[in-house]
Amino acid sequence: MPNIEFNENTIKASMGTFMENVYLIVLCIKPDGTILYANPHFYKSTGYSKEDVLGKNWFEQFVPVNKIDTVIQTMNAIVENKYSMKSENAVVKKDNSQLIVEWHNVPIIQNNSVEYTVSLGIDVTARNEVELLMKLNEKTMRERAEMYAKQNSVLEETKIGMLNLLEDAKELEEALQEEKKNVELKVEERTKELNEEKARLISSINSFPSGFVVTDEDGNIVLTNNLLNDIFKVRHVEWTLSEISGYMEGSTDFMSHYNKCKREKKSVLVNDIDLGRKFLELYIAPIFLSPLSDKTIGNIILITDITEEKILERSKDEFFSIASHELRTPLTAIRGNIELIKKHFMSKVSDTSFEEMINDIGASSDRLIELVNEFLNMSRLEQGKITFEKELFSMEELIEESIFEMENTAAGKGLYLKYEKPNESLPRVIADANRTKEVLLNLINNSIVYSDKGGTTIKSVCEDGFMKVYVTDTGRGILPQNQNLLFRKFQQANPSIYARDASKSTGLGLYISRLMIEAMGGKIYLEKSQEGEGSTFVFSLPVAKP
């Protein structure tokens, strides 16, 4: 390559090389828009080939439709004024996207007219986007700032709220502390009370007249009292249920009673456990969590030594047995012999005083025997030792028999004794006929004893499944204040216990009658009584269902 001197002329001549290689768009267009030249950077930037571009019209094919007028106006202005102009416009790329280009348009003039323009284009798409972004950013930032400001104010409010809360919390804390102190005081007080209560309870349990055992739900013994040791004559500190069971072995099956109580959640009472020298009573009860709950938390076991009571009970029984036999035997001898004397020897003695003495002894022995018999009868009734038959019998017949037996007694006092028998036949009664007769005889006897004139009337009525027997007398009657005492032990229709009753009875008759009638499922009561006019006694007994 020959050396070329680089001066203005040579540099101007090498401008073609510059245009071919520069990273700027170079475009030559005729004033009518025909494209004369485009440099390689144009093709590279737009994706077109030379065939797409050269000889084509710039305005029509490479400018966005809405910009065509602006571009033509710019060209016209250059052609008219013949000077360079800067413009910015879009170019439609081959892929239809757009390129924003800043143009420097230079007219090439020949013979005083513009032959074509050379436009140097700088791709400003990126710069524009940045600007747009910047603008967008600014807006976003402003919005964010506003948002932050808002958030800030919210935060501020929140902060105040938090502070208030903290304040409240502090007050609450103080209140809590106060409350805690109160509670602690109360707990202390309550603990003291509980301790006292516990002490009282333990002392009660210890002085309880029974062996006392508390178990938990699993049958472990959690509490016992001292008496438990005394009852079994041992010195255990720790107890188990099987030990307790062991001490009763052969007399009662303790564990089965215990298990029954646990299973059925009901208390179990076992009387009269005979340990040979000792009698025990066993009571097992469930401990409920609360009075309304059926959840149990263990059991209470009470073991009571009832040996002394048993001995007493036996003594009482023995006393009545002695009364029955030992007391009655000599009395029988007295009475029997008096009767013999009266029957076989009285006629041989003509002394009235002697006769009187014998009669008095006889009457006294009669009365004494009667007393003893009634005591015995009462005691047996009270102890439930008398069994009552449940037999069907006719009350009418029973009344007639009783009247037959008592007629002479009544007649002896000049009194009548009658039965107003109902016309229709009454259902039969279910009771013990002999005991019923005893009651009726007692009522008839009373009516005779307490009457001096008139007599006794008996009626029988069947009402509501019961036979009612009315015994009405015309006797002296019973004072109202004494009426409610009639069926009690040792009561006579007399206001003073020292003023003897003319009946010379034991005062047990009506009480015994009541015990018997009630045992047979009936009732006995005073229907009415008028002083000086008489009384009506009634007893009722269940009748057989038809």
């Binding site: 035997t329 009395l331 029988t332 001898a333 029997g336 009767e339 013999l340 025997i369 047996r380 030792k385």
Partner: protein
């Protein structure tokens, strides 16, 4: 003359009943305990036996049982004459073959004689 055997450990009572029945024209054989009573019943063959319950050596109910098992005495009516009056004992006595049951303190002389005559008549 009807013969009565009285088995009773209380001498006063025994003596009294002996008199009562003697006055009424009965022949009375007495003994103070059950074992002797059983022997007398066999040998004397009375028309009726009046038997107490509470006695030493052998109580009346066991005496009754023995009398009722013994071929020589099993047909002789035995009437219990005692001061025991509980239901249990009365039931037991009848179950063991007693013909009657009289409570001493609840029955007067004439009534006893009447009852005894009744029992003898029934047999």
């Amino acid at each position: 003359m009807e013969k009565i055997l009285l088995i009773e450990d209380e001498v006063l009572i025994l003596r009294m009943y002996e008199k009562i029945f003697n006055y009424e024209g009965f022949a009375v054989v007495t003994c103070e305990n059950g074992i002797e009573g059983i022997e007398k019943a066999k040998t004397e063959q009375p028309s009726l036996i009046l038997l107490d319950i509470m006695m030493p050596k052998m109580d009346g109910l066991r005496v009754l049982e023995t009398l009722k098992q013994e071929p020589l005495t099993k047909d002789i009516p035995v009437v219990i004459l005692t001061n025991l009056s509980s239901d249990v004992v009365i039931k037991d006595a009848f179950a063991k073959g007693a013909a009657g049951y009289l409570v001493k303190s609840e029955i007067v002389n004439d009534k006893i004689v009447e009852e005894v005559k009744q029992y003898i008549k029934t047999v």
